[in-house]
Symmetry: none
Subunit: 260 residues, 2 copies
């Protein structure tokens, strides 16, 4: 990391590091930084005061907190079954190792996965979702790619021919896809033709694919069957699916991961 050797670090270097940590973690402690740079706490405090006057951070007792973090809580949309989706997010993130190329679909479940991925090292993220791209591109040590195309205002994500075609250009280690519903006989379905096609394409292109299905999707009937869904590695759910659905999935060789 940044070196402070024998000579003291330049003030701007400290400022950069402070802002960097702030961007990464949302907050930093004074003692922590003073030790890192081997300077007194007053010095760090003075740095922070200066940055605060420039409006670059928010001073709090014992350190500073990122302005952006407090203001940027906006993209969180009303969520049904928020706890379940968060659990799914954590379970999904557990499958991701440092250095992987990860595809994240649009939708609230995928957003939870994105949240849970924060802190992993050296990931390459590929997504159609504007919100996910915005969230993760602010993380250091993550490279984010967005698939181009027309934005679907409901999903706030790229869709259409361009996105479909762009998928082919990537080599994905692991993909996490949303879906519209899970039928009683264990078929994964989608709301729209283009969504189903996009996800089908992804299943065939990624080394591993998991569908994210929170319990509100169980038994829901949506019109489009997702082609090739049975070639996915498995589904991640927040509660055991109804027996017939689960049975159908297992018969096709798919793993059912129940997040707790």
């Amino acid at each position: 990391m940044a070196s402070q050797n024998s000579s003291r670090a330049l003030a701007p270097r400290r400022h950069d590091e402070i802002l960097k940590r702030l961007a990464a973690d949302g907050s930093v402690g004074i003692a922590e930084l003073a030790a890192f740079f081997d300077v007194s706490r007053e010095t760090i405090r003075r740095d922070m005061k200066l940055l605060a006057e420039r409006g670059q951070l928010d001073l709090v007792h014992g350190g500073a907190r990122s302005f952006a973090a407090t203001e940027a809580a906006l993209p969180l949309r009303s969520q049904e079954n928020a706890a379940g989706k968060a659990a799914i997010g954590r379970a999904a993130a557990a499958l991701v190792e440092d250095g992987m190329v990860v595809f994240l679909d649009s939708g609230t479940s995928a957003l939870e996965v994105a949240n849970a991925l924060i802190g992993k090292q050296n990931l390459t993220i590929c997504t159609t979702s504007l919100v996910i791209a915005l969230l993760l591109c602010r993380q250091p040590s993550m490279r984010v790619h967005i698939l181009g195309g027309e934005i679907d205002p409901i999903e706030e994500a790229a869709s259409g021919i361009d996105a479909l075609e762009a998928i082919g250009r990537y080599r994905i280690d692991i993909a996490f896809l949303g879906a519209g519903g899970l039928t009683p006989d264990g078929t994964i379905t989608d709301f729209t033709r283009s969504g189903a096609e996009q996800r089908a394409q992804m299943v065939t292109h990624a080394a591993k694919t998991y569908f994210l299905l929170d319990s509100s999707k169980f038994g829901r009937l949506t019109p489009m069957r997702i082609r090739n869904f049975e070639r996915a590695s498995g589904i991640i759910v927040d509660a055991p699916p109804p027996v017939p659905s689960g049975h159908g999935l297992k018969k096709k060789g798919m793993k059912v991961i129940v997040a707790g």
Copy 2:
């Protein structure tokens, strides 16, 4: 590593090393360099002063820092010269008619244009900026396309080969581009090679192109010249540019629109 042996290093050799370190670490200390070259601190200071006058580095107490690194993160930039940028946004929006296909670059000025476009009917928006896409896709009667590619975390926008290539697929009526600076002789420049290339591509593809330059950009020297910039229709500014710059632009047939 570079040798300084018994004989003193030549001035140009020192300059190269200073710039090299700057490029590598973002900043260098005077004491550090003086020891390395076995010269007095004054000498290094004189070197740096010279390089600073050439616009190759930014002097700070105790050393120097790289200019490129000074480009502030997006949330901070949005605050500087906010009024000027808002005026530019309104002036730009006035050039847009219902039904047009509009390209919006990344950057805070373009974001202001996006804001000012709200309310127009039946626009098709094409952008690289995540924030702009998110903002406008929530507007009814706007269709938004995002160019795919790797996200530049500073701009929070797509860049790179994919974005460059995607530009060619659209037919744009009017494009609004940001830029890094406007030199005294009326050349429009950019911070990065890829940014300059992307904008050059856009200038040749759009029916009309306008550069957005708030007054903080006047006289600023950034490294890359934007190819073909003189084929743009004009620039939109929040204050009259310095006489020599303005003269240079008009000689090239570009309109200078001063927003008030």
